[in-house]
Symmetry: C2
Subunit: 319 residues, 2 copies
């Protein structure tokens, strides 16, 4: 799946993933109205609204981008109907040949992580049969529990040819509270003190060494590093040369095109930039407001084109 992601990035010339994180306040009135008139102001109505909203965006951008990243929390908040909309969204995106990164940030003790891995990326056994649960192509994983919590994902990824992105340095303002703490180096590590995100980054690189589709390629164990921390991105890029970096925080969270160059390798690959609000709610921004709610999907398409240009210009500019 990492190879499919890379080949789609090459084909679209867009290292972009669209974050399908539909909050109700982003959903245009006409879609809300239609959904509520069918299902009432219920969880089912909300789920229908976000699903229809997603579908419009996916139809409008699927030829431009390699991947989407639905954030499961935005669906989980609407209970079972919301999770059903998540599943429908994943299925629809896969039909459109998009790579689907489930932003689920799961991670637990071994036997529990195994269940998450099976549920999101693999097949679960039921009697003599087996079934896919939510069936994303990639999942994001939280490293706080150590390798026990990550290895079950690697096993399923190897069987299913899928992948993960492990949280290393997240894009939010408080990410440094733990992730930037300076950790005493062990003799094995050369004794130097390093921030926690570097410790995690090194581990991601080490896991990745066992998870290469072919020698010298990118591994299917990626990392999450926020666009809002370009300096750390530069350091981590060097520490994890064969790791694909999923970069959230572009646009609405404050990350700019010029900040992104540090996340890419010399080959122009190695990173994929996420934008959620900036694309899916583009019609609510002044520069795309002429599209109006009815034209929200076209506004999203324009925003993708602008983002593609912004990134290309930044990469060209690095000489």
């Amino acid at each position: 799946m990492i190879n499919k992601l890379i080949s789609k990035i090459r084909k679209t010339n867009a290292p972009i993933v669209v974050g399908l994180d539909p909050m109700m306040k982003y959903v245009p009135e006409h879609i809300q109205k239609a959904a509520f008139s069918e299902f009432g102001e219920t969880l089912e109505g909300a789920a229908e609204a976000i699903w229809q909203f997603n579908r419009g965006i996916v139809d409008a951008v699927c030829d431009l981008v390699p991947a989407v990243k639905p954030q499961i929390a935005m669906y989980e908040q609407f209970g079972i109907p919301g999770l059903t909309a998540f599943k429908k969204t994943v299925e629809y995106c896969k039909q459109k040949d998009l790579v689907v990164i489930g932003d689920v940030k799961r991670g637990d003790i071994g036997s529990t992580s195994e269940a998450y891995a099976v549920g999101h990326l693999g097949k679960v056994q039921v009697g003599g049969r087996s079934y896919y649960g939510l069936d994303e192509d990639f999942a994001t994983v939280n490293p706080y529990l150590g390798s026990d919590g990550v290895k079950p994902f690697l096993k399923v990824c190897s069987e299913e040819k899928k992948g993960i992105f492990v949280l290393v340095k997240t894009s939010n303002p408080s990410s440094g509270e733990l992730q930037d703490r300076l950790v005493k180096g062990t003799a094995e590590e050369g004794g130097e003190d390093r921030p926690l995100y570097e410790i995690v980054g090194r581990q991601v690189a080490a896991w990745g060494e066992q998870c290469m589709p072919s020698e010298g390629s990118y591994s299917y164990v990626g990392a999450v590093v926020g666009a809002t921390y370009p300096e750390q991105g530069r350091i981590l890029r060097k520490l994890m040369p064969n790791t694909f970096i999923l970069v959230p925080g572009y646009g609405a969270q404050g990350g700019k095109g010029a900040d992104l160059v540090h996340f890419f390798n010399e080959d122009g690959l190695g990173a994929i930039i996420n934008s959620s609000r900036g694309i899916i709610a583009a019609y609510q921004q002044e520069q795309y407001s002429h599209f109006g709610g009815e034209g929200y999907a076209d506004a999203s398409r324009e925003a993708v084109l602008a983002m593609r240009e912004d990134i290309a210009a930044a990469l060209d500019g690095r000489g």
Copy 2:
């Protein structure tokens, strides 16, 4: 809800939470058979089997224990039908007046954690109405993203009178890979180097200070500390005097009664011990094998009684 938990612990004299983590291999044959004959060997069949399995256990132990802790991964692996069984289990346990701790280990950037908090503990807005999503009483939360990822939970907890347990030192073998790393102390902290779990523990205590139902009581911001690490439990108990500790890892994971005393305060409170496999799959252990699969729920009841005695003996023994 923390006060309800405490009053139920006092009433039952059992600081015990039953982990409702139903793997298919724990579900007795007669339950699997009945479910599969109704729904086939499908995700719906599996979901029905784990729901019926849970119901039997809940009926058998609900007068003995204050709380249950369903691990959502074990349901999520069966996709939407599995999550529907999770919701049914939560609802049923609440009908039986059990406190429900959703072991969901969620945590994300601010706006996303808000959606998780709303989905698991609070109400989501749909047009002019609002609805509970999964509606647990407590949720477990991962701290890797820092306070941005935790504060939205505190807000919802304060509104809904619910609570969280933040992962501090988890029970699994590799938990030390990050959690035990020695972190350089800042001047503000007195300059001393401390393991990461202490940094997180201090933060949990600090969040808790803002989250007390009444002065000097236990806060509704709890901590997860594994029974498998009694020495760390002792340290954390002192660091977080007003924090309730959820202690996984008893029984099947290797934690023993004598290890548990360190997690309790002098008042005999301050900790609640989880056992999952040891209770729900008791009939598969030699000592309860005479119950057989048909008597699995009675075996679970016996295992709870034995666990209650083990803990009471350990607490008595500490003098």
